[in-house]
Symmetry: C2
Subunit: 338 residues, 2 copies
């Protein structure tokens, strides 16, 4: 069961009594100045090609133009499994669609070792160079690693804004979306708002906090999510919570209800994006939070676009912020008159 050698241009050339170069020229239909093939010769070659069903080996073709048409996808979490898959899935949908449109294949770096539940890009056996460039996905990215990649001239596009100057990215405009939400709340009469979330670490967190501070008059920032943290906020006169992570919002609503508070009548609770962590509890009695959603699919799509543009040598328009979609929801109301 040895596999028959693939038919090559040399074979075609022999059968058509021409040179391999002529076959290539005919095949590529070259008619530039300086390249001429007699119609009868061309026909003879085409005839042999038809008879043999020859198709050019795409691999050898790529060797010549030095582009593999492979786009790498690096995720800091495993792609398919894991609790956060629902969050990352839409990004991948966008990436896949864009790759398909561009005629590129996607290489998932599954060979990357996982340390402490996270992947390291730059390990000794990294195979990044298999791809023409890579899309980077994940909330937390090691800034050093990213810098090193950029410094090495390895083409990347991050999904999500990155602080590093020179990194091409497609991010969501969390600052603007958060600020807009806060202004809505203020317009309804809320005077004391609180931001609940890390507010540091990932760019997506700092951006939200920044947007919050820009728009909120009396700006309170809490990081803990538990009953006593809520008590402290309430004691400070907070009437609206802006919660980074919906799972935390659900928990806070629970604590509020335990205290006999109604949402949103007594306390407004807004979310700042889609759930990264899965949400516990019965989906049936889940609140329809007021907040915004992240244009994840579009971000994936455009990240591939940005990557290919940087491969083409474009130097501008490689950092983009997309607007988030407001979600009306039912968890924002006028604060109770006190």
């Amino acid at each position: 069961m040895s596999n028959p050698r693939r038919i090559t241009q040399r074979d075609i050339a022999r059968l058509a009594r021409v040179s391999q170069a002529t076959v290539s020229l005919v095949l590529n239909n070259r008619t530039d100045a300086g390249v001429r093939i007699a119609p009868e010769t061309r026909e003879r070659v085409l005839e042999v090609i038809r008879e043999t069903g020859y198709v050019a080996d795409p691999i050898a073709r790529r060797l010549v133009d030095r582009r593999n048409r492979i786009i790498g996808v690096f995720t800091y979490e495993p792609v398919f499994p894991s609790a956060t898959r629902d969050f990352y899935h839409p990004f991948l949908v966008g990436i896949e669609e864009a790759a398909e449109r561009l005629g590129c294949d996607l290489l998932l770096f599954t060979s990357t070792p996982v340390v402490d539940g996270r992947r390291r890009i730059l390990h000794e056996e990294n195979r990044l160079r298999l791809a023409d460039g890579s899309v980077l996905l994940g909330r937390h990215m090691d800034a050093d690693e990213v810098s090193k990649l950029v410094a090495d001239g390895y083409p990347i596009a991050a999904v999500g804004r990155r602080d590093h100057d020179a990194v091409p990215y497609v991010g969501a405009d969390y600052a603007a979306a958060t600020a807009a939400l806060v202004r809505n709340a203020v317009a309804l009469g809320h005077r004391t708002c609180a931001y609940v979330g890390p507010g540091a670490g990932a760019e997506s967190s700092t951006d939200r906090l920044r947007g919050f501070r820009d728009a909120a008059g009396d700006a309170i920032h809490a990081t803990d999510v538990n009953a006593s943290a809520l008590d402290a906020l309430l004691a400070a006169g907070v009437t609206a919570l802006f919660v980074e992570e919906p799972a935390d919002a659900v928990a806070l609503v629970g604590f509020a209800r335990e205290r006999g508070l109604r949402v949103p009548a007594d306390l407004s609770v807004l979310t700042l994006g889609d759930p990264v962590r899965p949400i516990d509890g019965d989906p049936a009695d889940r609140l329809d939070f007021t907040g915004f959603s992240i244009p994840r699919r579009e971000m994936g799509w455009q990240a591939v676009e940005v990557l290919t543009e940087s491969l083409e040598g474009a130097a501008t328009g490689l950092q983009r912020l997309l607007a988030c979609e407001p979600v009306a929801g039912t968890t924002l109301a006028r604060p109770a008159a006190h």
Copy 2:
């Protein structure tokens, strides 16, 4: 920001003050008789490779025909998006896990053109040869395409049994699982059972029908899923429905209830696998169907295993059928005494 040329072995060679050939030898860890590299030279080369993050170009490598440690994944439907993603997802989880364990990367053939909502493997610019071999995923596979791949000596492993003699696959034993279900029903007193599903086309459908026929005494086969089809079955004295697709089972239960029938008291309804089509309606009042589930993750896992074994030259054990897991459920009961 010009496009940085890819690093080549020649570059490594220059930096390490050796020849390109030496770099190749070190890289492939060649120690055959006749090939010797001084430890210090080897170390010098490896050091440069580490510094530069060099990886052999998969394209050039394939030209001289060596392994890439890349496993191709070809799906007849788009991988990430679409209504059927929930069905395919577990297969991918298994594939990814196996790839990670083997230290291989996954190449998703997104470059494949989609025609009529389905992908074609063998188009003129197909890039299958980028991968060492490929896992094929999807209910319906073009038999001609698969035959051609096998004939060409391209290593593949299908997820799901394939009729073609020589195709390595990891399938689910639908026949046995279906037969076991039917025997349970018969033991409970059901005399007239019906199979509802295509029963033809994909191997997975013919297998289920075969298992059904083997075990059912009075074998009725229906393909339509609507109210009048149900009436016809009931008129024929059917007391248990074996439905290939859970979404159809849900619909049939709906029709039965409209007729005042209770499930399972008046009619048992069993399912033959996990939902390929998404199920409409409120998840809250969804029935817990008796039936079986498909070991999807395990199938994906073993498909990669089978593929690598066939790459290693193994000629046996390349066709496997895995048992399906019975699901007790609540939709099977003794038939009403008439």
